[in-house]
Symmetry: D2
Subunit: 92 residues, 4 copies
């Protein structure tokens, strides 16, 4: 469901985020100023949101579209429910 190209893109981004988290750990260790650490946390949140966007778009294009086109009432309903849940988890 996830194309080779998207997988590579996600892999690269997630590896960068992993590095950012390690960086955060070092910043805490080095007692960097709180505001600097908080700003870095915001950057990681933003980066994760980017990964989420790629996944969300992928989900809409593949799974959601397939389910909605199946004309199967139950699958379609579940897809709406899933989209709503994911949106409002992100909307926090």
């Amino acid at each position: 469901m996830i194309s080779q190209k998207t997988r590579e893109q996600l892999h690269k981004r997630l590896s960068r985020i992993e590095g950012q988290i390690r960086g955060l750990n070092r910043m805490v260790e080095a007692e960097r100023p709180c505001i600097e650490i908080l700003t870095q946390i915001s950057s990681v949140q933003e980066a994760l949101r980017g990964v989420g966007k790629i996944m969300m778009r992928n989900y809409l294009e593949s799974c959601a579209t397939k389910a909605i086109r199946s004309q199967n009432k139950k699958r379609t309903e579940e897809t709406y429910k899933d989209i709503m849940e994911v949106i409002y988890k992100f909307a926090k």
Copy 2:
């Protein structure tokens, strides 16, 4: 500025988040369902928000309080500005 106890708490949480990011990478590799991956991204966001809360509280208790109590107009103004910026970065 960050107590030994808080540093350990942050260290533990950040290490767990690092593991979650590696887990996300494996989920993408294993082509887990998009919704499952999106839900996991939400969990990491929530965990990062937890780390941010600890840092924010620490910032208020230490740096911000010191700056505001200094009665120094410029330092106080900068503290307001920093708090506002951090709040509205998080509020995204």
Copy 3:
């Protein structure tokens, strides 16, 4: 596209929110404590999010489903783009 029942539900909620905004104006006039006003603003945000959820669900069930089922590539693409935009406007 919006059923009579949903329209009534939205109308009721929006009228209540309008009242809440007027209430906020009175709270400012009466110089109520800032925290009280901020808490009230949060309530209105939450209420608006509720209206947004109803609209989003309605959009998925009607317009989005129709567009995706049309098998029309351009309409489908636009629907993905619209959903992504709305999600990430809300995700702020």
Copy 4:
């Protein structure tokens, strides 16, 4: 605690938001496209966030600063708690 100037600014903004809510009600009545209504809801959320920012800044400058400078441990603690609560209500 809220200056005359800030009160007028808030009053103006809240009146504009009240008008936007009435506009939303009319858009639902007129069965405007869902995406248009959702975009308008986002605008109102953004406008409310603006009001929240003014209140938050005012709160920090007046009540919070007074409480923190009082050197009263209990009042200071309560202020931290209030700031944290408001931040994380907004951070949704």
